[in-house]
Amino acid sequence: MTTRKNETMVRTRINGDEVEFLCEPRETLLDVLREDLELTGVKEGCGNGNCGACNVIMDGVLVNSCLVLAVEAEGRSITTVEGLASPDRLHPLQQSFLEHAALQCGVCTPGFLVAAKSLLDHNPHPTEHEVRYWLAGNLCRCTGYDKIVRAVLDAADTMAAEAVP
């Protein structure tokens, strides 16, 4: 299990930075992000594509990093939850999640934030229905979703207001 043979060098871009890492083909992108690159904001929930806790954005597309091989990241550009905030302030989605208390235990939160970012990248003015469907692949066992949905809708309004000078 622990012998590391057959390793491949992968060159990718993560949260804007050029990154190189060695991995075996059997390692998932989730494994490498957490264990090798110490981007532990990415969470492992189910490990089989049902819960969304490991969501990252790869070349503009929301994916479950547990169902992506790390070798597939070669030449791609990846955004994790660590890439959302700027040095001086939280991302409006993160601020909104805080203000709406849209989390309890917090394990699902990075996945929800990344999924919601992907939604607002594609659709800056989603309806509640669109938010609920877009987030259907993210499971939360604490909040009952309502506060999360409100936080996303509120963040969309905030971002729209900030975009207007």
Binding site: P25, E27, G52, V61, V63, A136, G137
Partner: protein, 302 residues
């Protein structure tokens, strides 16, 4: 996860050669949403994973109003429903592509992969049958075509021989007066596996008054997705004004053709009932879309 080798194939010929050489040891990787879950759970053993996403012809999404749609086997769902020309012309395909998993799955999962995984409950296969898709297959002996309704031979089993891969799906161009739809029943609103699915299409005559032909397919009611030719035949020649009676008749034929099992998702009786209900509803939508689709260039409704 078990150890394996990974190769990013650059051409169809290279992928075929790799698969032919490795035999049962090798497996094709497209979006990985089925394969990686199977490997993690130890349900499948592989020595070699051949990534086919970077082969140009497997990643092609090309629509031409005269030629139809060439859908590369590795094209993920989101690229299909985000393409306006495709969304307009192949509404049954769009129904299916936009309800497989959540957006995270649709960002990776391909219809070619859904087909090759050959689940009896696969959402895209009844829709592909309704649209009359033809599978383009490449292998050591050359290329061949197989109608999509003949592709699956059992749960997880297909007509693909050793070394063969699915390259693309070709869907004929829709003519004016064409409509299609896919509906499934699941106990929640999204993110679930079909208890029953029904994919249908209708082609109206040039005046939009008569159903010229129709196709009906069911999912999750047999070991493979089921093409119910007789249900479509029962609709041919029927007046659109009298569509409701024809639709009910076709739904009854579909129900009779269904031979489901009892399992954790549903019972035989429930599935037989659903086969009729979903086929009836899907046909109503397809007839409505056909009436709206084409004669004056109006769009298919989603």
């Amino acid at each position: 996860m078990q150890a394996f080798d990974y190769i990013r194939a650059q051409s169809t010929e290279q992928a075929v050669a790799l698969l032919a050489q490795a035999g049962d040891q090798a497996r094709v990787l497209a979006g990985g949403t089925d394969l990686l879950a199977q490997l993690k759970e130890g349900r499948r053993k592989v020595g070699l994973v051949v990534d086919i996403k970077f082969i140009p012809e497997l990643n092609e999404l090309c629509y031409d109003p005269a030629e139809g749609l060439w859908l590369g086997a590795a094209v993920p769902c989101y690229r299909i429903y985000n393409n306006h020309a495709v969304a307009h012309s192949y509404p049954g395909l769009i129904d299916a592509a936009s309800l497989i998993g959540g957006v995270q799955i649709q960002g990776r999962a391909s219809l070619g992969g859904n087909l090759c995984n050959a689940s009896p409950a696969a959402d895209s296969i009844p829709a592909l049958i309704a649209h009359g898709a033809i599978c383009q297959i490449a292998g050591p002996a050359g290329r061949r075509e197989v109608p999509v309704e003949a592709f699956c031979t059992g749960p997880g089993r297909t007509v693909l021989e050793a070394g063969e891969i699915l390259v693309s799906l070709h869907l004929p161009p829709p003519r004016p007066g064409f409509g299609a739809a896919y509906l499934r029943f699941i106990p929640r609103n999204e993110m679930d596996i079909a208890v029953v699915g029904s994919g249908v299409s209708v082609q109206l005559d040039a005046r939009g008054e008569t159903i010229a032909s129709a196709r009906v397919a069911l999912g999750a009611v047999a070991p493979t997705p089921l093409y119910v030719r007789e249900a479509g035949a029962a609709l041919a020649g029927r007046a659109v004004a009298d569509a409701e009676a024809a639709v009910a008749e076709a739904a009854g034929i579909a129900q009779a053709a269904a031979r489901p099992i009892d399992d954790m998702r549903g019972t035989v009786a429930q599935r037989k009932h659903l086969a009729a209900v979903l086929t009836r509803r899907a046909l109503r939508i397809a007839v409505e879309r056909a009436g709206a689709s084409g004669f004056a260039g109006a769009g298919a409704k989603k």
